[in-house]
Structure formats: structure tokens, C-alpha cells
């Protein structure tokens, strides 16, 4: 699926910092025209989202994320060993249990984007603790 800005006749780009950490299985993504800056959101229902998930790819994800070993298992398995969780690219931010629970509920193929959105927001804000309140702020900022 591709998105075209009709007035500019330019392909719209996935906004990797604009994914909402949605705590259900509905995919919500932003696309922006680099020419005029117009932004749209693509919203899908649960069944459409599950269909996309069968590809096992990361929406807006870089190839490096895709290559990480056991990336889906490590980020999705509810009771995984600690050393497996550490296989994920992480920074030094501290996540509360609530924040981790919420990020785990994001569909796996957009989870890295959601995590990045939250991390970028925390860094911009100069905080090191990611909790439920911060995630609420992210949602408000993203605006979806």
C-alpha cells in the first residue's frame, strides 16, 4: 500500500515518530508529504491489522531491526527469560511495569516504532523514567 499526495503528486512518507502506542490490535500510522507537509493517518480495524501482521514485517522499521535475532519472540513472549529481553535494542531509560505492559500490547510489527516514539519523546523531554503518564502524553502529542 502506498500513499500519494494528490496536489503535489508526491509519495507520502511513513512517519516513524508518529505511530501511536495503541494498546489494542488496531494499526494507526501517519504519512506525511515531504513537499507540502500535509499529514494523513491510516487507520485499520483488528482484522485488517492481523492480516498485515502475517507478513511478519516491521511497519516503518529499518532493516537492522528486522535482522535482530528472535526480535518478535523476544519482544512478544509474555514470560520470556531476562537475557532474551535484553537482546532487543534498548537504551538506558527505565520503564515502569505499567509502561512495559502497555508497550507489549502494541501489535508486534509496529511495536518498535511505538517504542521509538516514546523513547524520542522521553529524550526530548529530558526524562529517564517511562511510565504510564508519559505514554499518555505521547498519545496526546501524536494526536490520534
Amino acid at each position: 500500500m502506498k500513499f500519494l499526495c494528490v496536489p503535489c503528486d508526491v509519495q507520502m512518507e511513513t512517519q516513524t515518530d508518529g505511530i501511536m502506542p495503541e494498546e489494542n490490535k488496531n494499526l494507526a500510522m501517519k504519512f506525511k508529504c515531504k513537499n507540502c507537509g500535509h499529514t494523513i493517518a491510516m487507520l485499520t480495524n483488528k482484522f485488517e491489522t492481523e492480516f498485515v501482521s502475517k507478513l511478519g514485517v516491521q511497519m516503518g522499521g529499518s532493516s537492522a531491526e528486522v535482522q535482530a535475532p528472535l526480535s518478535v519472540v523476544s519482544s512478544s513472549l509474555a514470560q520470556a527469560k531476562e537475557e532474551l529481553s535484553k537482546a532487543n535494542p534498548e537504551d538506558n531509560l527505565v520503564w515502569t511495569e505499567e509502561a512495559l505492559d502497555r508497550i507489549k500490547k502494541v501489535p508486534f510489527f509496529v511495536r518498535n516504532m511505538a517504542r521509538k516514539t516514546v523513547i524520542n519523546f522521553a529524550i526530548e523531554k529530558g526524562v529517564t523514567l517511562i511510565d504510564g503518564k508519559l505514554m499518555d502524553e505521547v498519545r496526546e502529542k501524536v494526536g490520534m
Binding site: M1, K2, F3, L4, V6, D9, Q11, M12, E13, T14, T16, N24, K25, F31, K46, F47, E50, S53, K54, L55, G56, V57, Q58, M59, G60, G61, S63, V66, Q67, A68, P69, L70, S71, V72, V73, S76, L77, A78, Q79, A80, K81, E82, E83, L84, A87, D101, K104, K105, F108
Partner: protein, 298 residues
């Protein structure tokens, strides 16, 4: 206005590139493995894992390099038999995860190795509203990652211990198109044979090579005197194999020693090669090796 073809990428996700990259990684990992064999049954409780472990033991005993993928994601058990339990320490780097090394050097990858506690269930979300489609999608993805991200190295045989039922073979067929074949396992009970017959039919219709049918728990072997007696009433599984037009490759007795480690921590086969059960396992392995030798494409 531009058309779909005019737009070179997909806006940043590079979906096609990601799919190609995953396939390349999988191929690269599996290219070092000569023969891939799945062991399955439509029915649960027929002793697939115990048999798989001892078939691996027999192959290793013959000098082959062997690995086992425990594809029974929700009921992983084979690692315990090989001495690679839940307390196994994981070793990961950017290239992948090291498999567990079980008895006789048999390599193993199993969900049990990834879980935090021995009694931890395999759950992809703790959200009660998770749909079956979602869980199924996660399992398919997990299976691909276990295959492609495990550092199998060079192997002569990779045995795939399938879960009960015949649905997961669709994933394996897609991920491992060069699969040498499947070994179907039943027990003498009419119910088991009824269900396994469906599994055989499905594999034949889908073009999955069937190496043959094994009748497990065909008789009972007394661990004290090594004498055989009948365990189940039912039709001879040979009839099923004849009806389906597939080879009947072995009768393995019910033997309580098969599903547990020996006193020295090894697998049954290595210490009881000459027993009735040991010889039956060797016969199944002969059939697998003959099938592969006669089907050079595998």
C-alpha cells in the same frame, strides 16, 4: 497523477525488502543442513517427542551431526530428554542464538529454553481479548524465527518435532520447501489411526513427501525380562499404510524407558541398542536414510 508503479518505494517501511531479507536469512541458515525431516501425527500422545529424541540419538550414534527443532511451541518437551531444560543459559549475539547442546552433541532449539520459569506457559499477550488469529500469527512468526535465528551450523539432519495435529505442517512446508519428508506416527488404537489417516491424506494432497508410517506403542516390552505383549486392541497399522500407499517403516514397542533419561543421563537408544525397542528404532532410522538415499532431491 502518479500511479502505483510510478512510486518506487512504499513510503518508508520497505515491506518487500524486509520479506526478501527474512527469506535470505532463512535460506542462508538452512543451507548448512543436508536433510530436514519432520516427525508428526494428527493425534497427540502417540510418543512423537520420545521417538524423535531416540531417532536423533540413533543418527548421532551412526556419526551424523544432528539437530532438533521443537516445533511443539505450546507443549515443548524434547529438551528435557536431551538434558537441555528451562535452566539453559541463553547465548545471543547479532547473528543469532546458540542452540542448546544436548546429549551426544545433539543441537536443540525449543520454546522451553526461552521461558523464564519451568511452568511458564507460552503466551504472546496477557490480554484476555487476544484472538485466535493473532495467536496463530505469533506462532507462525516464532517458528520462522526459531528456524532462521538459531545458529545450527552444519548438520547432516535436522529433525522437526511437530505438535499434535496437522495444521503446523503448512508453516513448515512454506519455510522448508526442501523438506526431505515427514514420518507419520500412530499408535494401534482405531481412533489414532483414524486421525493419522487424515494427516497422511493432507500431506499427500499438499505434495509433502511421506517417508512412511511408524506404529508406536505397538506392543509392550517388560523392562525386567524384555518380553513383548500386546498393549492396544486395534487394526494393524500396516493396513493403514497399505490403504494410503505409503511404506510401513516400523513397529516400536511401548517401553517406559524410552521417554526418560538413562541412569547416566543419556538417551534410551545409546544404552539399549540391542533391545527389541532399540532395534525397532534403528529400523525406522534405516528407513529414513534409505528414503533420503533414494530421493536425491531431498
Amino acid at each position: 497523477m502518479k500511479t502505483y508503479e510510478d512510486l518506487a518505494g512504499d513510503g518508508g517501511s520497505n515491506i518487500v525488502g524486509q520479506v526478501v531479507s527474512k527469506l535470505e536469512k532463512l535460506r542462508s541458515r538452512l543451507d548448512g543442513i543436508k536433510h530436514k525431516v519432520a516427525l508428526m501425527s494428527g493425534k497427540g500422545g502417540v510418543g512423537k517427542s520420545s521417538l524423535t529424541a531416540n531417532i536423533a540419538s540413533c543418527l548421532a550414534d551412526r556419526g551424523h551431526r544432528v539437530g532438533i527443532l521443537d516445533a511443539d511451541l505450546n507443549g515443548p518437551s524434547i529438551g528435557q530428554l536431551l538434558g537441555v531444560g528451562n535452566d539453559h543459559k541463553l547465548v545471543l549475539d547479532d547473528d543469532g542464538i546458540e542452540p542448546g547442546i544436548g546429549v551426544q552433541g545433539i543441537k536443540i532449539m525449543s520454546m522451553d529454553m526461552l521461558l523464564s520459569q519451568p511452568d511458564s506457559p507460552v503466551m504472546w499477550t496477557e490480554e484476555p481479548g487476544a484472538t485466535a488469529v493473532w495467536v496463530s500469527t505469533m506462532e507462525s512468526t516464532a517458528l520462522r524465527e526459531l528456524l532462521s535465528d538459531t545458529k545450527w551450523g552444519d548438520l547432516d539432519f535436522l529433525l522437526i518435532d511437530m505438535p499434535p495435529g496437522s495444521d503446523r505442517i503448512d508453516n513448515i512446508r512454506e519455510l522448508v520447501p526442501e523438506l526431505a519428508g515427514v514420518v507419520e506416527i500412530t499408535i494401534p488404537s482405531p481412533l489414532s489411526q483414524h486421525i493419522v489417516s487424515k494427516s497422511i491424506t493432507k500431506n499427500r494432497q499438499m505434495g509433502v513427501p511421506v517417508i512412511g508410517l511408524v506404529e508406536n506403542m505397538a506392543t509392550y516390552v517388560c523392562p525386567h525380562c524384555d518380553q513383548e505383549a500386546k498393549l492396544f486392541e486395534g487394526k494393524d497399522a500396516k493396513d493403514l499404510s497399505q490403504n494410503k500407499g505409503i511404506p510401513f517403516i516400523g513397529k516400536v514397542p511401548f517401553d517406559t524407558r524410552l521417554s526418560r533419561k538413562t541412569g547416566s543421563g543419556g538417551l534410551f537408544y545409546t544404552e539399549h541398542r540391542d533391545s527389541i525397542t532399540g532395534q525397532a528404532i534403528a529400523q525406522v532410522v534405516d528407513a529414513i536414510q534409505n528414503f533420503i538415499a533414494n530421493n536425491p532431491k531431498s
